[in-house]
């Protein structure tokens, strides 16, 4: 079965600083990959998904971007963080079975 690794687990960043969150997948090849955000007290919102290297689809307009430089690597970035970017970010992978497996998440606090 596949395993999703995310790091860092916790991150505190000042407003206006850049961001890079990394997600890697183990145990499967050519997975579909997803970034979700969970704001405090709210459900999960899909931010980006990728069906292959260099292929990124954005679900909501925002201050973030995503990249997939390798088959099993998915990166979430920002050039300048906003306060509203605070939240819990989850990466998920899916191997075509329609079942998504999630990483442990990154708690981002923008101050």
């Amino acid at each position: 079965s596949q395993t999703i690794h995310q790091w860092p687990a916790t991150l505190v960043q000042p407003v206006g600083s850049p961001l890079s969150l990394e997600c890697t997948v183990e145990g499967t090849s050519n997975p579909n990959l997803y970034w979700y955000r969970q704001a405090a007290g709210r459900g999960l919102q899909l931010l980006f998904y990728s069906v292959g290297i260099g292929q990124i689809s954005s679900e909501v307009p925002q201050n973030l971007s995503a990249s997939r430089p390798q088959d099993r690597q998915f990166i979430l970035s920002s050039k300048k963080l906003l306060l509203s970017d605070s939240g819990f970010y989850l990466c998920a992978g899916e191997n075509g079975s329609r079942v998504q497996y999630f990483g442990a998440g990154t708690r981002l606090s923008v101050l």
Binding site: I4, Q6, N32, Y34, Y36, R42, G43, L44, L46, Y49, V51, S57, E59, L90, A92, E94, G96, R98, V99, Q100, Y101, F102, G103, A104, G105, R107
Partner: protein
């Protein structure tokens, strides 16, 4: 638009009591349905899924869920709750055809278990 509704934001049950968490979806076709559980500060763990076939599905940790097409529901149940079941529970539906499956989540239900 497709959506998933979990009517109960918080539920408190006593340990050993039965549990039912409600989930309703709005989707034109028969969806792929999921229940996930999230412990504080953790990622999501899949409890069970429904794709087709038997409408009563069994999952991990003693949970089960029943798909009712006529009610557009996929309620999660457990006969006897344990203190370790305290967590947040998310119902979700996969949208999309082809080779992507975008999950649409409900807002979640927080389960508190009284000793």
């Amino acid at each position: 638009a497709q959506s998933v509704t979990q009517p109960d934001i918080h539920i408190t049950v006593s340990e050993g009591a039965s549990l039912e968490l409600r989930c309703n979806y709005s989707y034109g076709a028969t969806p792929y349905l999921f229940w996930y559980v999230q412990s504080p500060g953790q990622g999501l763990q899949l409890l069970l899924k429904y794709f087709s076939g038997d409408t009563l599905v069994q999952g991990i940790k003693g949970f089960e869920a029943e798909f009712k097409r006529s009610q557009s529901s996929f309620n999660l149940r457990k006969p006897s709750v344990h203190w370790s079941d305290a967590a947040e529970y998310f119902c979700a539906v996969v949208l999309g055809s082809g080779n992507t499956g975008k999950l649409i989540f409900g807002q979640g239900t927080t389960l508190q278990v009284k000793p």
